[in-house]
């Protein structure tokens, strides 16, 4: 079964069509990356998959569950990291992880195990007992990424996961994602970092103006444009 199937997905905001007829699949255990210039509808697509926005037309299913009709089931399978997410400022990092683990997993012991994993993944160590309002942007982002993956979701939807992170932290997050994918989690990410995409993804979907221009492995795309620079592929596709 595919982890994700999007069929002719359309999203119209009042008088503007942000996504116009998107069709793609994500296989289980795969890392799939959506790329494309700013404002082409990547985040809008991810929000529809995360059950936050209702598609204007078309359909999306996550492990066979429709995101509109079976939104509750879908929410139990996914974990979504918004592109500009924040955390509760008056909680400490540890309290935040515990709260989120309980919200997503409900069950006490499972949540505790997730918190332990989260504390390890975020790499904040002693800072976890400080209030989140004292965190830097990158620290908060690391906490949020740990939050998103600690519950071991079937499908993790990460909108620009490493934006705002330094080179070392970005590298570690990428390694974590790759490791978790190896353990069975499916990832759908969006990114502007070609190096990251080349390192991570099995396949990439290049979007422009709400449409999918190409959807293949980085190697295949490079071959198609006979270059070994993914950025060149990107530029030639979107121009």
């Amino acid at each position: 079964m595919n982890a994700l199937e999007a069929r002719d997905l359309v999203k119209r905001y009042k008088d503007f069509e942000a996504v116009s007829g998107l069709t793609f699949d994500v296989k289980e255990g795969e890392i799939f990356a959506l790329v494309g210039p700013n404002g082409v509808g990547k985040s809008t697509t991810l929000k529809m998959i995360a059950t936050l926005l209702a598609p204007t037309a078309g359909s999306v299913s996550v492990f066979g569950c429709d995101v509109v009709k079976e939104a509750c089931r879908v929410r139990e399978l996914i974990s979504y990291l918004p592109e500009e997410a924040g955390a509760y400022k008056n909680l400490t990092g540890r309290e935040y992880l515990r709260f989120m683990a309980l919200v997503f997993l409900k069950d006490g012991p499972k949540a505790e195990a997730a918190v332990v994993r989260g504390e390890d993944l975020c790499g904040l160590a002693d800072k976890l007992k400080d209030k989140i309002k004292t965190y830097s942007k990158g620290m908060t982002r690391k906490l949020l990424i740990a939050r998103a993956v600690m519950i071991a979701p079937r499908l993790a939807i990460l909108d620009e996961p490493t934006s705002g992170l330094d080179i070392v932290n970005g590298y570690e997050v990428r390694k974590t994602i790759k490791r978790l994918a190896g353990e069975g989690t499916t990832f759908l990410i969006s990114s502007h970092n070609m190096g990251e995409i080349e390192f991570l993804s099995g396949r990439i979907g290049v979007m422009n103006n709400g449409r999918m221009l190409a959807c293949d492995t980085p190697a295949a795309l490079k071959r198609r444009f006979s270059t070994d620079d993914l950025e060149e592929v990107f530029i030639r596709l979107t121009q």
Binding site: T51, L52, R75, A85, L91, F104
Partner: protein, 428 residues
């Protein structure tokens, strides 16, 4: 621990910041201190009930006036001055503000049946403010009527031999009765009014505070989730969205209850500091009569009032929740609060200034359409034996609450939450 409690605890942690607690505590303290100092000041100025007599008559009658004032616990000082000017200017009377000038020949004139004039001078202090001048005026009025009573007694004793002045002045003293719901009691109407007012004085204020505070709390709770971009994460979780709504309602109602409890304590010590123990005194002598009139609230009466207030708060919370959903961020809460505060003011103040039992139908309709009015009026209605109206009010408020919750839940589960925004023009 149940997930609901987890959610409520997180809301409380986010809302009840140390800054909030400190500022509330500081306010309580300030209220208390001001109340105490104003109270002791008022007592001091009340006891400073003195009058300076400039006696140009030096007769038996003028001595009688001075004695009567002394009996009435007035600190009488005699000025040796021969006119009011020097007495006012005399440095030893600097602290005095009441002066009485007894004209020469007063006794002779009255005995002969000629009108004369006793003059009273009240000196205003340069920086007089607050209750000072009001209390000075009421002291002067008392002195004045005491003196006038003494003078007419003097005349009556001379002219109406065989009749006591007391009888002539009020030959058939009035007896007052209050009638409430068919029950009749001999009790001064002023005592009834004072009692009803004292009972319904704190109450609407408390309700007002709770509503404003809890509305603000829940708006902050909702708007800050939006502003801090935590809402999307929460909405993508498998938690039932109605539970999210409910946990926010519960947490803000809880904090509002704690805060307004604090406010009311502060207010109480403030008011009792100012008013002292004088206020209930008037009514307490008529206590049994008031009880027989059914004015003392019974436990079931309190239950009705409590219920009315509860649904009122729930209504306000549901409304505020919706307004909070529409707010762009925490800053725009002020603007979002305005319509709620306006409506609240209307239903709080109008029944104070107009008599609902005599108001015209248009005003009544508007006021009763506002769910808050029913809670504000509940104590009066219960005291006046109008329980049916209170129950109807509760039913109406509950219906409004249900409608708003339905609307809130619809808004909260739709995507409008993430795409819909009300913008306010910037206020310059």
């Amino acid at each position: 621990m149940s997930i609901f409690l987890v959610l409520v605890r997180k809301e409380v942690k986010e809302l009840l910041t140390p800054q909030l607690v400190v500022s509330i505590a500081a306010m309580l303290f300030v209220f208390h201190v001001i109340g105490r100092s104003v109270g002791s000041h008022n007592k001091a100025s009340a006891s400073r009930n003195g009058v300076v007599i400039v006696d140009l008559d030096r007769s038996a009658l003028s001595r009688r006036l001075s004695a009567a004032l002394s009996r009435a616990e007035c600190a009488v000082t005699h000025s040796p001055a021969r006119d009011i000017g020097p007495a006012l200017a005399a440095p030893e009377h600097d602290a005095e503000s009441s002066f009485m000038l007894v004209p020469a020949g007063l006794e002779r004139d009255l005995a002969a049946g000629r009108q004369s004039h006793v003059a009273f001078y009240s000196r205003f202090r340069k920086n007089a403010s607050g209750l000072g001048p009001v209390m000075a005026a009421s002291r002067t009025r008392k002195t004045l009527s005491l003196v006038s009573g003494e003078l007419s007694s003097f005349v009556m004793e001379r002219r109406l031999q065989g009749l006591s002045p007391g009888f002539v002045k009020d030959p058939a003293p009035a007896r007052e009765f209050a009638v409430i719901g068919g029950r009749v009691e001999a009790v001064p109407v002023s005592h009834v009014v004072a009692f009803v007012q004292s009972q319904s004085y704190f109450f609407p204020m408390a309700v007002f505070f709770i509503i404003i505070l809890s509305a603000q709390m829940i708006m902050t709770a909702v708007a800050s989730e939006k502003e801090n971009k935590t809402l999307e994460t929460l909405l993508s979780s498998p938690i039932d969205r109605r539970m999210l709504v409910l946990s926010k309602l519960t947490a803000s109602a809880f904090i509002a209850a704690v805060l307004s409890g604090g406010y009311m304590l502060g207010m109480r010590s403030f008011m009792s500091g100012i008013v002292g123990d004088a206020a209930p005194g008037a009514a307490s002598s008529s206590g049994p009569a008031l009880a027989r009139l059914g004015l003392l609230i019974t436990p079931s009466g309190y239950l009705m009032i409590g219920l009315s207030v509860l649904v009122c708060i729930l209504c306000a919370l549901a409304m505020a929740f919706i307004l909070g959903l529409l707010a762009e961020d925490v800053k725009s809460i002020q603007a979002m609060m305005t319509p709620l505060v306006m409506v609240l003011m209307l239903s709080y103040l109008l029944p104070i200034f107009i008599d609902m039992s005599a108001a015209n139908d248009g005003i009544k309709l508007i006021l009763y359409a506002i769910p808050f009015t029913h809670a504000f009026l509940a104590p009066q209605n219960v005291m006046m034996g109008n329980g049916v109206q209170v129950l109807w009010g509760i039913a109406y408020q509950a219906a409004v609450f249900a409608a708003f919750v339905a609307l809130a839940a619809r808004l909260f589960s739709g995507e409008a939450l993430l795409t819909l925004r009300l913008r306010f023009p910037k206020v310059r």
